[in-house]
Subunit: 273 residues, 2 copies
């Protein structure tokens, strides 16, 4: 076999690390792949880390210990997050997105894989240190961003349902306060969450906060801990939400009825500097 050159190794290491965010790859894995010494591969990883760092493309860290190795996290910079959210806010301010009942049409935006991924990576950044074991969302619109948040964190996604369908098996059902103070039902497969797991709750939209509070209650039924609640967009009104401390990337200030469009802006901490 030809000796594999550094050029080649770097492309491959960059590809493998960045395609699997937050997963630890042992140096041994790369040594075997390239037939190279550990010291060589270790230098390679450092070079990839420096290059990505230099261009603001995320962080490669070396993790020490028996389960050690190298790990990529798409740590989006403040500037990049601000740019992404500015662009997103601009799109959500387009006329024609206002829907009856104070809702905003966002499905086209959140179902673009690259947009969902960008949102997921911004959300994930806040929660790496809290080490969630899973991301929980409620069907349907939040699933793309929740899945991409889970991807960035390298944890499974768990999806609560409006009803427990036959093909999910035994389920826990709870009631929660939905839009317009209606009592709604949420179901989650019994086997989806184990006691003691750490859940990050993610959804696309928060108005009253009832659905998010329902998910918090659901996690209590499973004896799981909620380590954070993140949403893409929350409404300014009502200011008092049913759930406290949820983190939102965007704020829906109001509907400008004359212009027939929403007024959306990035949350204060993501404002351009």
């Amino acid at each position: 076999m030809d000796k594999i050159k550094r050029n080649e190794r770097l492309s491959v290491i960059a590809r493998l690390l960045t395609d699997t965010p937050n997963r630890i790859h042992t140096l041994g894995e790369f040594c075997e792949l390239f037939g190279a010494a550990k010291s060589t591969v270790s230098e390679d990883v450092d070079l990839v880390a420096e290059a990505l760092q230099h261009f603001g493309l995320g962080s490669v860290e070396t993790v020490a210990g028996a389960a050690g190795g190298a790990r990529f996290r798409p740590l989006v910079s403040h500037k990049q997050a601000a740019q992404t959210l500015e662009g997103l806010a601009r799109r959500l301010c387009e006329p024609g997105r206002m829907l009856p009942g104070g809702f905003l049409y966002t499905s086209d935006v959140t179902s673009e894989p690259d947009t969902a991924q960008a949102i997921g990576e911004i959300l994930a950044r806040r929660y790496y240190e809290r080490q969630p074991n899973l991301v929980l969302t409620m069907e349907t619109k939040g699933i793309p961003i929740a899945l991409m948040t889970a991807r960035a964190l390298n944890v499974p996604l768990v999806i609560a349902r409006r009803d427990s369908r036959a093909y999910e098996g035994p389920a826990v059902k709870i009631n929660y306060v939905g839009g317009g103070d209606r009592i709604e039902t949420m179901a989650l497969a019994r086997r989806a969450v184990r006691p003691g797991q750490r859940a990050l709750i993610v959804d696309d939209f928060m108005k009253g906060g009832g659905t998010l509070q329902g998910m918090v209650d659901m996690m209590r039924e499973f004896q799981a801990e909620v380590i954070g609640v993140g949403v893409m967009i929350k409404t300014r009104v009502p200011e008092q939400k049913l759930i406290e401390g949820a983190h939102s990337l965007l704020i829906l200030e109001k509907f400008d009825k004359e212009r027939g469009a929403a007024v959306v802006r990035p949350a204060a901490e993501y404002a351009a500097q």
Copy 2:
């Protein structure tokens, strides 16, 4: 500014290309990023392409013309696809996944971001040449794999709903034959699809094929063309599906009631050689 070394450029190019499957990056984009000549960047792209090719990590192609540049596709090899699907089949054969009504519990598997991505990339491979403009799925369980298929193809995901929720705006509703020959309703936001678009339909599970046929009918209502139908798993029985020509990665042969487990295997074309 220090001159940016080839090492550094390769890591960055590998990261940028592989993170955005099927999107064309112009060479000018890289020239600007690195302050390098087109000939240099072009060589860089070739080196990344060779490295990924060599290790079976996907294909970087150069696209000529005014909108030309370099494009990455995660073209999963037959061997890799066979391995992935073997592993998946093994997991789905675990006892305890049988549910009443001939259903199989698969949500835990399909909601793992890396598994969903692997399935999406295997599915996408068949359809690059047919150039879909969108991926259509029906809520809920198929969304993760459909989103990852859409990511690999660089097209938006469109999600049909069981009911048209207020926050989706005006919707088209159709009836279709669901499980147990029940008539069910499917709704899709009016603005989600434009006439003439080319849809790839993706779902997780096909038994009778009614839901898939419903999605085909829905696309007809939108005057969109269906360029393919792909599912993760289909049941052997009934052999006659309501829809013809759907492509499935896995076959659910039967439920082994004694063992309390399903018998699942990769579809013939993905069998290990």
